[in-house]
Amino acid sequence: MNAPIRRLGMVIAAMFCALLISTTLIQFVQARSLDDRPGNRRTLLASYSKERGSILVGGTAVAVSKRTDDQFKWLRTYPQGSLYADVTGYFSFTYGSTGIERSYDNLLNGSSDKLFYRRLTEILTGQSAQGASVQLTINAKAQEAAAKALGNQRGAVVALDPKTGAILAMVTSPTYNPNLLASHNLDKVQSSYTALLKDPAQPLLNRAINGNLSPPGSTFKLIDAAAALESGKYTENSELPGPARLRLPGTDNYLPNDWPGNCGPGGKVTLKRALTISCNTAYASLGMELGQDAVRSMATKFGFGQPLSIPMSVTPSVFPGSLNKPELAQSSIGQFDVRASPLQMAMVSATIANGGKEMTPYLVQSVRDGNLDVIESTDPKTFSTPISKSTADSLTDMMESVVTQGTATTAAIPGIKVAGKTGTAQHGKGRNADVWFTAFAPADNPTVAVAVLVENGGTVGQEATGGLVAAPIAKQVMEAVIGK
């Protein structure tokens, strides 16, 4: 009987081989795709069971995991409360994550392939796994100044380093406290989240990059001016028609200035002067002279309509397609269907500040593993070069005069040359203007470019203008960066 026993042994060996293969398939070959299946609670719990890396601003953690005694083991906490909410996002068991918490999840939770060798040593030495920490480009002083200056007004502030594109501040208001959503008391999290969703002010919305994009108003004139200067047919001193009101071609409608009167003697005004006092009629007619293609092409070069992520994806700003003359006139002063994000307008200022070279904005400076070895770091990248150095210089000169003798004297910083442009976008009756200001400083050696949007007139209401409401906020942010 021994021969069949041996043969039966072979059959058994084959059966065990089938089991070795099936377990290998599941635990090795298909493991990743099984882990990534939607509704896999283990993957979610696993991301809690490890010490998630911190998110750092300067040397301070703005998101850090703390040991707890409950089943989740680690509680994500945001020591500064709502201050960095729009950058870090939240990390919630029930509602997932947003912001950097989401974009850098693989590195923060330590599962990224970039951490493979480190994970290997962790496995071999039995150390407890630890995620990588993410160093932000945010400047804590600028962030604090922006949040304080914006206060309770609905709007957003973005500050960039014009030379690199590093985002120095990103604040939106109203915002939320991410600790409420990261809590392990899931019932409380649910009620907090529902309340935030129901709030008509939309506190979960990042108005700096994903807001309901507002018309940029007169800040868009910078793009008209850039297109004009780049065409070679205009200089700062070229004269434009600047009447008190401009009849829109083919209609009986008029496009007025913000004040009753001409922009200059005899209804004539230079390109520079028109920007300084924010003359609507001059820039509307300039837009029509340049033609919609030239204006649209310049807007596109600055980033309108282009995808961008910082690493959160940014809603592209909009310059509408195929316009008739009256629509072009209105679009040229940042009205009609033109829409821009505060980040986009900050990029426009930053480009002018950086001599015409537009840098890609970014939020993450570097990622370090538990041993503080740098795993990746961001090198500044050129986004595009929409204007030449000489155009940039002319625009800088024009923007300085806006602050020294124009609509934005409220942004002046003693001893520092500031270049800026206001915007006051009307929404028609029943709603106050959305007011803008974008600027950079010092104008001769820029270290910060900023854009401020305050919706619905802010605290000033009906009387609000960019110069009155938005410019002082920008000033405080720039001061914080420059160190005044």
Binding site: M1, P4, L8, A13, M15, L20, Q30
Partner: protein, 462 residues
């Protein structure tokens, strides 16, 4: 004495060393769970751990005394598996949302199982004695197998009617029936193997046995189909039928039995899969464990195993409790999750070793009954592991068999300890030198009254 020089080694010291290693692994695992979940050694580490070691060492001493030539690897492996099972069951008890304390019960059943095994070693000094009760065992086995169908005591758990309940206890009689039937098969086939293998006609090139020799086989087929149909349990059915066909093949050395057996089984399963909805669901989930609107049990097990990956999360650091029946039917995914693919391979290797040692005992055994019984027991262990692990890893449709020594469940643990005791007894007989029995007998004649066992043993061998 010249005779004593020729004695082969008993290898009991090897067993002792292996046993110490096995117990050490179990204790480390137990400590690991405590440290991982509660940041401290389990409060009962020394009492429970020590008790477990005492039970294992007691069995070892019994073997030294009563079965000195038994296979030295079986006890350490089984101790390790039983211990790891206890640790995992305890670990799942600690998980949030655990219903009751399964580990103390399992520990109690471990003691009962070892006691039963020790009793068997004492009561059955020679496995051939079991042949005296061939038909009693057979009858008892089939009756036990069918008891879950009885009213009042039969229980339907998870769609399978393979349980009986007595008072507060529920018991899976098929586990014990498996052993009785294996003994019956072995004994019956040794008697009839010549008739089965030599007499018969050829049909289509297949040598077919005579109709009257087919009788018992058809009865076995009908009984296993009965289990399949009335108890809705593919696993038990497959186990019994596979066991029978395997033993039949070994006894007769005719491959036609395998072809006939497999054919009959496939026909039976196919018909069942058409007739029974419970069955179709199992098949659908086998093909697509993520089928929407159906049980996500397999899916959760798969996700658990995937979460474990190559090296596992570590004991106490995964979430096996997210899978239903994580400490019984799905204990293999629980191990896969916390010990990783490496750990599962190790567990499969341990099972492979048990089976291999069982077959080795069969090869070395000097009597046909011992050969067949050891083969049957080893093969049933292999089949059971295949059905259980294959079920949760989608090699075959999921069925409700227990994982030997690991799953929480008293009847299974008891039955498997008895199987190991039988294998130990057979291997002891196989390796015991022929001269040894005579020397013992001579020695005993010198000093004491002749026992009734020795002449009987000799008769059995003649």
């Amino acid at each position: 004495m010249a005779l004593s020089l020729a004695r082969p080694r008993t290898r009991r010291n090897t067993e002792l060393v292996l046993l110490i290693i096995a117990i050490a692994i179990v204790l480390v695992a137990y400590a690991n769970v405590g440290l991982a979940i509660e940041d401290s050694l389990p409060v009962d580490f020394y009492t429970v751990g020590g008790g477990f070691a005492v039970v294992a060492f007691a069995f070892h001493l019994v073997l030294r005394w009563k079965a000195a030539y038994a296979d030295p690897v079986l006890l350490p492996i089984v101790t390790l598996l039983n211990g790891l099972g206890l640790v995992m069951i305890h670990r799942i008890d600690l998980a949030p949302g655990a219903l009751d304390d399964a580990a103390p019960k399992q520990l109690m059943w471990t003691v009962v199982g070892v006691a039963a095994a020790v009793a068997l070693i004492f009561l059955v000094p020679d496995h051939r004695r079991l042949r005296r009760y061939t038909f009693s065992f057979g009858l008892a086995g089939f009756v036990l197998l069918l008891t879950p169908l009885l009213p009042v005591i039969g229980r339907n758990i998870n769609g399978s009617r393979v349980w009986i309940g007595l008072g507060g206890f529920s018991f899976q009689p098929s586990e014990v029936a498996k052993i009785l039937i294996a003994i019956f098969f072995a004994s019956y086939l040794v008697q009839t193997r010549d008739a089965l293998s030599l007499v018969g006609r050829r049909v289509l090139g297949l040598p077919l046995p005579r109709a009257r020799d087919m009788g018992p086989i058809l009865i076995a087929w009908i009984a296993s189909l009965g289990v399949l149909v009335f108890e809705s349990d593919l696993g038990t059915s497959l186990l019994f039928f596979g066991l029978f066909v395997g033993m039949l093949y070994v006894a007769t050395e005719r491959r036609s039995w395998i072809i006939i057996g497999l054919g009959l089984f496939l026909v039976g399963t196919y018909v069942a899969s058409i007739l029974f909805a419970h069955f179709q669901e199992r098949v659908t989930l086998w093909l697509n464990p993520f089928a929407p609107g159906m049980s996500d049990q397999i899916a959760k097990g798969l996700m658990g195993m995937a979460a474990g990956g190559l090296f596992g999360t570590g004991l106490g650091q995964g979430h096996p409790e997210l899978t239903y029946y994580a400490n019984s039917d799905f204990i293999i995914p629980s191990f896969g999750e916390e010990l990783g693919l490496v750990g599962l391979f190790a567990i499969l290797a341990l099972y492979g070793l048990i089976v291999e040692r069982g077959l080795r005992a069969a090869l070395a055994s000097r009597d046909g009954f011992g050969k067949l019984l050891a083969t049957g027991l080893a093969f049933s262990m292999a089949l059971q592991v295949f059905v259980v692990v294959g079920g949760v890893t989608r090699v075959i449709p999921l069925t409700g068999l227990t994982t030997p020594f690991l799953s929480a469940g008293g009847s299974s643990l008891l039955a498997n300890w008895v199987i190991i005791a039988l294998l130990l007894r057979i291997s002891d007989q196989a390796r015991r030198p022929a001269t040894d029995t005579r020397a013992e007998r001579l020695a005993s004649e010198d000093t004491q009254v002749v026992t009734t066992r020795a002449p009987h043993a000799q008769r059995g061998r003649a």
